[in-house]
Amino acid sequence: MFTQDVILENVLVCLRDMIPGAETVGPDSDMVDDLGLESVKMMDLLMKLEDDYDLSIPINILMDVRTPRQLAASLIGYLEKRNGPV
């Protein structure tokens, strides 16, 4: 039901809502360095994703995440590990 592309699209939509003038947000934008996503906003994004997919996102799966694409990949990996292939 969820694919990495669907999650990625959702992440991009959320980011465009949260960041003014964010037409330039792409799958490979650096969320912190390029988009200036501060920690409070990052928490908002994670909360939204937790609610959308009804899951609890452990911070440790996000230790190497810099871009929306990496975030989507980490989430799908986590969901598969938890539920079996989705």
């Binding site: 969320m31 920690s39 911070i59 230790m63 190497d64 995440v65």
Partner: protein, 583 residues
Amino acid sequence: MTVLYLSETSSAHELVQRLADFPSLTDALDYAALGRTGMNFYDRRCQLTAVLEYRELKVRAQGAAKRLLTLGLSKGDRVALIADTKPSFVEFFFACQYAGLVAVPLPVPAGVGQHQSYVEKLRGLLASCSPSAVLGEEEWLPYAREALDATAVKFIGTDDELEALPLGQPTFVAAQPDDVAYLQYTSGSTRFPRGVMVTQRSVMANLRGISLDGIRLRPGDRCISWLPYYHDMGLVGFVLAPMATQISVDYLRTQDFAMRPKQWLNLLSRNRGTVSVAPPFGFDLCVRRCSPADVDSLDLSNWRVAGVGAEPISIATLDRFAEHFALAGFKADAFMPCYGLAENTLAVSFARADTGAQVDRIDRDILETEGRAVSATEKSTAVSAFVNCGRPLPGHELQIVDDSDNVLAERKVGRIVISGPSLMTGYFEDPESIQKLRATQRLDTGDLGYLFDGNLYVTGRKKDLIIIRGRNIWPQDIELIVESEPEIRPGDAIVFITDKDAEPSVVIQVQYRILDEEKRARLSHTLFAKIHSEFGISPTIDLVPPHSIPRTSSGKPARAEARKRFMSLRAAQRESFAAAGLA
């Protein structure tokens, strides 16, 4: 462990309550283990995920203690504990107490994409405390392994892995008052981490003061906390104090609070919490994130002590919270401002119970020019409001001194110097700090404040320290990152704060000789992005000509001087703009 049915521990005391009047932490736990109270762990939906009664904690901690001793660890060895808000941390911490080992709580990362910076931080801490074992949850151990020079470590693993080891038959030796119970790393500079040595004597003295004279805990109290276990307020205030007074306590993980601050209030409401403490930013976050409908669903009328500390307290933040949550039954009288620091175990002073936050309104001009705190009148052009942080705990002393160490009269602003039984013996493996404390028996906190009617008013925190949303940031750490840019050499950067109002603003001056506008803009952008990503702050980057950063006679960056020059230049620019009709 199979759990068919979980229910949280009761708030009710079966035991006669003893307020931390024990010689050591293990004596305190031995007593708490006679009752049925304990610790409860909740997830982001406020669902109970684990319960740890004090009596079970004792059994599990003793088992882990035996295994650590059987592994060959001996008295005084450090054991690094990655301090996630989980039952295993508490078990490990008390295992160290029974075994005579020195527990060293280490942080967990708080955000996204922090692999490198977290490993870097752990590396500094592990090198500083040179542990014989590292314990933690499975999710964090890979980072510890990466950060560790694995030579001297006898064991690294989880609670399950430790439990698989042989119990053996070691004997416990009762802790002595001067034994170091744990190291508390202050949220200090990554470059120079400092581990405060807290002895059994000092932790018990502070717990006694907190529970008897500060918060004044009573039977039936229930504590609620989301504060991290690796922070002194989280550890001493909400792991050790509830245990040493046999009170039940409920935990949310810090990360869950950061994402959903309302869950803190939910838990307080649902479990009829009576005592909970947070830095001002915690209260602020709740105001910003709770709608009127959220407020409607809460009952905060049982919350009798809402402690506030760990960063400068702005009365406006507290007023907003009290107003926002009045309809949920929150009483402004519950606010209890306090002052403390890890070097004094945790607490130095508490405001009186049931009086709320008392404010002293001061003429800011007189304060800045004469260093005196004089009540503001209608003639005052600017007013500063300082919050009453109360009197020092009984048996503890506090003085305000000037630059020559003369004790100042009331209402004169100076450095806050403390002494008493809760004081650390020094920083770990820092003989200079140990000798100095032994000789003087007192500690210069570096913070500024004044006394009025014996009550402490803090006017400024440690000169160099930058505190933003509860995080302590040291200018040295920012400078290090700036200077790691290939174009910039060591000594070319200086960082200081210009805190006019509530939010401090960080200024980074960088000596840069190239005049090409494009290159300058690119460097500014790169530095901004790096600092923003590392610390979550938005600094002002100011490129200055070579040789323009002021230094002290010993070659250290003169931050106060740099700040003064920067501010006066700014003011001059504003005036010339105004003169030209541009302002």
